[in-house]
Symmetry: C2
Subunit: 239 residues, 2 copies
């Protein structure tokens, strides 16, 4: 797998594109937003209110969207994703694992089909806004092992998207972009720094205190902490 | 394209399977439900409340689910599908076309990415209920020309589903089934009759009166009317 070494990736296509960005409010999607701004792309940001334990990330998403002056920011309600069950991120009775990074092949924080659902909504926004790009901060290296962050899944979704929409059928371009896919978390931290992203605006923790203070022990906090440490930088959130 | 001649299709796999069925409440999904019941499959039905003009179909879905004693019936709320815009089915300011069957390649009743979104939710239900089959009443012959009802789209989604879920990654079987895909509407009507489906329980109209009376002129009414006529049967809804 080709690895990025920390420089700012160039846009995959020439010219000013319109993109729908899945903006969770975390470090990865925040870095994607800063990157798209650098490329000069028009951004329609989409966030999801799905009953997640860490709803505080929606505040982070709003702050990021405002800081970068996106063309639009939709917070789409998916109230029944939680009732489908099966994830520590949406079910209070399942604890968020602490200090267990990498121990499970697919951890209990995995939400069934979440990225498929989120990308499908992004696709609807892309169709109605005329965007040719859908951007997701998925990452195949330093992740929690979610199947729906892996390159074959993203390629398959892109094909599905092209076949199942008016845009695709009429021959207009439609691409799924995951610019962070082959970066380590440390490389993402360096990229965020190179882009001048204020990482204090982002929120990564799966199980924050009511005031938003990160727990410091969930997979997401541990990955972020390791990323900053390996990048030789200090996390302004001290997550 | 192989055409079904009106007999009851056999189950594509042996044994009692568990399926998630997209149950809109229309003739096609109702026929699928009757077919799955005939196969002896366990059915988890899923319907969507997405601000559709024809919300009356949800009552039809509930009646069908009750009549067939499904294992579960979820009506999932997707409140923001309408605000994404672009369809006569969700926007009051766009009129439902009347008496124009087949005139548009992709008609204005097309809802951007709707089936991709619905199948994604079905996938989440399949993951959390352990179902190995997702069944959709999609139809590639007598349809309104929606891109997300066509065989290549369904095959691509199946691949996406297998790659993006715990079930698929762990090697468990996961299939998208569209048993009506290659049938004409007349063949579907005959199949419904052969299965003993009470078609008066179903609701097909895109633009019904508040009491549920079908308009008789939208694409969906015209297709249904033609199907019953060509099958030599009388629609108990006289749609």
């Amino acid at each position: 797998m080709k690895r990025n070494t920390g420089s700012i990736p160039r846009a995959p296509v020439r010219g000013r594109r319109t993109a729908v960005l899945l903006l969770s409010g975390g470090l990865d999607s925040g870095t994607c937003l800063a990157l798209l701004a650098r490329w000069g792309w028009t951004v329609h940001a989409v966030s999801f209110d799905y009953g997640q334990r860490h709803r505080i990330e929606l505040h982070a998403a709003r702050k990021l969207a405002r800081a970068y002056g996106v063309a639009s920011h939709r917070v789409l309600r998916v109230p029944d994703l939680g009732v489908l069950g099966g994830s520590a991120l949406t079910e209070r009775r399942i604890a968020v694992p602490k200090n267990q990074l990498g121990e499970a092949a697919i951890p209990v924080t995995y939400v069934p089909a979440r990225n498929t659902i989120f990308l499908s909504f992004a696709l609807a926004v892309a169709e109605s806004s005329g965007a040719s790009e859908i951007v997701i901060g998925a990452n195949a290296l330093d992740t929690s092992g979610y199947p729906d962050c892996r390159p074959p899944f993203l390629r398959a979704f892109e094909k599905t998207a092209r076949l199942g929409t008016r845009a695709g059928v009429e021959g207009r371009s439609l691409s799924i972009r995951a610019p962070l896919l082959r970066m380590t978390k440390a490389e993402i931290v360096k990229l965020a720094e190179a882009l001048g992203l204020d990482t204090s605006l982002t929120s990564s923790c799966y199980d924050p205190a009511p005031d938003g203070t990160p727990c410091g022990a969930c997979d997401s906090c541990l990955l972020r902490e390791r990323g900053f440490r390996e990048a030789g930088l200090v996390d302004p959130k001290r997550c």
